[in-house]
Symmetry: C2
């Protein structure tokens, strides 16, 4: 994990970019601080609840990458900014309603909130189109007291897991070309050029040097799950060799009812399966099948040596983010010894 | 929820069976107590960690339905039995290793642990075959000090979600017919007939009257997720009308970037997708698409009225167990008002 942190920072530095790691992968302020200590400018969180955890945990620069809505959330955002006046807290938005509601409360409280406008970058999720609607939203921010136009977010989440390095880099570049063209042809001449352009991820960061991104939001590189490891990098088109899988789940063999079948005590509530099955790193030739909430069924190839009931196996999750979300504590292991433990303070903070 | 608890107890009573609800669905001792107060004999937990929560929470009869293994777990099981001498704690096992390890520690501690042998019932997960290996395991328990042969578990988890009432009932019956035949032809004559036969679930309980089950482990009926609601019951082959969906997730519209697309703030870390997509109960004509860990993308049919940014929608999860596992608190709602709240004490206790 520490090697991954160092490696990504070096790569981002070499590309002449700035790193703002997405911490939804780990949700632990101490790890966010390690990323900042390695050279990151600050961090991203997906949710306001995670931002509350990070600000309370001493992180001084937080970008909330998902729009918020509803009176309760707006009040919480303003309260968070007020409680941490020395922390830079920025909020991504994509609708006039966001601007007006945040501005009204900010003005009442006597503060100013920095906003990033999310721009459609091929994902068809949140985000305004890079057309006149973007101009109108920026102009609304600029003429509204209590909010500040800090830049835009252009994140193509749907491309992070495209397999094959070359095709992913080209697709990622193509997905945001219109956004940067619009900045040059329309925003810049009107003096609306964004100060910050934030986006990119573990899959796509290398596609963006020189394009106009000022911050790269890569987050999954810290753990590198089986899905990310399989997308390839510039060294190999089918395996990512730049980063190493660092999040493992230990599971115990609890049953061995047949020569070709054993059962472990980790099911969907330990190893999420939303991006496929986890890998059995102890025995790569053994495959894992989800056996329900609490069981994993292992299929042994013919002639494989029998496992021992009670034997502990190491599993590599297919999706780190949703796997870690099942646990309350992360253990730091070095040379086979547990040397650290961190409460996953942001777990469950999807609020 | 309270109506579902009452309804299942009535149905089980009418079938002449006994209910031992599986509490992995809710993981809350107070709800387990409500099920017992309604007439259940005790409860099931999937894991030792959940059993610790339930015993500590005052539940006096607990069956742990998944085998355990490894010295740490065996010690914890014995400690749990010792700390709660008035609580009946039974453990499901399927291997001589389980019997020997539990017996050794139980004898040292001066207690006796009740064991149920899991028998293969078509799921191909844990469980010995209903043949001589079952006889040998029962005889091992019977001649080993510190453990007690209390019965068997025959659970066909893979059939719970078979669609169509008639086909599910027949398939469920067929899956365990061999087990009961073996009990009659082989175990009974040798005086090894199980005192307890535990199994069945929300999908299959009605298939088992008269077959030999002494306890039904239904659990999901308390909440009835979208997947369970779609399997049908005796009243309707495609919808379950006996039980009502009771677990809902509230989510807020955070973005509405296009007329046919809105975004809500609940993704995979709130509404699990392992059994498919959740339903939008507020607008049944709107479909939910997973938009990542923290986003849900709503697709509106042409001409649908636009949603308001900040509007709160009600979602019906596709899978209650893994959805509830994302949260720390469950709120009890009656007539639109929050009247109760329960800490989900067993959340994360897959240990």
């Amino acid at each position: 994990m520490t090697q991954n942190i160092k490696e990504m920072q070096q790569q981002i530095d070499l590309l002449g970019l700035t790193l703002r790691p997405h911490t939804k992968a780990h949700k632990i302020p101490a790890l966010a601080q390690m990323q900042i200590d390695a050279g990151a400018v600050g961090i991203c969180t997906s949710k306001l609840g995670e931002a509350e955890v990070m600000a309370k945990g001493g992180i001084h620069d937080v970008l909330i990458t998902t729009p918020i809505a509803g009176a309760v959330k707006y009040h919480r955002l303003i309260a968070l900014c007020k409680e941490h006046p020395k922390t830079v807290i920025r909020q991504v938005i994509d609708h006039p309603e966001h601007v007006k509601a945040i501005a009204r409360l900010a003005t009442e409280t006597g503060i100013e909130v920095g906003l990033l406008v999310e721009v459609e970058s091929g994902q068809m999720r949140c985000g305004v189109m890079p057309d006149e609607s973007l101009v109108e939203l920026i102009e609304l921010i600029n003429r509204t007291e209590g909010v500040r136009y800090d830049g835009i977010q252009a994140y193509s989440g749907h491309l992070q897991l495209v397999k094959g390095y070359q095709v992913r880099q080209q697709t990622a570049f193509d997905a945001v070309r219109d956004v940067f063209a619009f900045i040059d042809t329309t925003l810049a001449p009107r003096d609306l050029k964004p100060g910050i352009v934030s986006g990119g991820g573990t899959g796509t960061f290398a596609a963006y040097p020189g394009l106009g991104y000022t911050e790269i939001q890569s987050g999954s590189y810290i753990f590198m799950d089986a899905t990310y490891a399989a997308i390839g990098d510039e060294l190999c088109d089918v395996t990512n060799r730049q980063f190493s899988p660092a999040l493992k789940v230990l599971t115990t063999v609890i049953s061995h009812p047949a020569a070709n079948r054993a059962v472990v005590d980790a099911g969907m509530k330990s190893l999420s399966i939303d991006l496929g099955m986890p890998k059995v790193t102890t025995y790569p030739e053994v495959t894992y099948q989800c056996g329900g909430d609490e069981h994993g069924i292992l299929h042994l190839p013919e002639g494989h040596r029998q496992l021992k009931v009670g034997e502990v196996l190491t599993m590599l999750p297919s999706h780190c983010d949703t796997t870690l979300h099942n646990f309350d504590v992360l253990y730091g292991v070095r040379d086979g010894m547990v040397v650290e433990q961190w409460a996953i303070e942001g777990r469950g903070r999807s609020d």
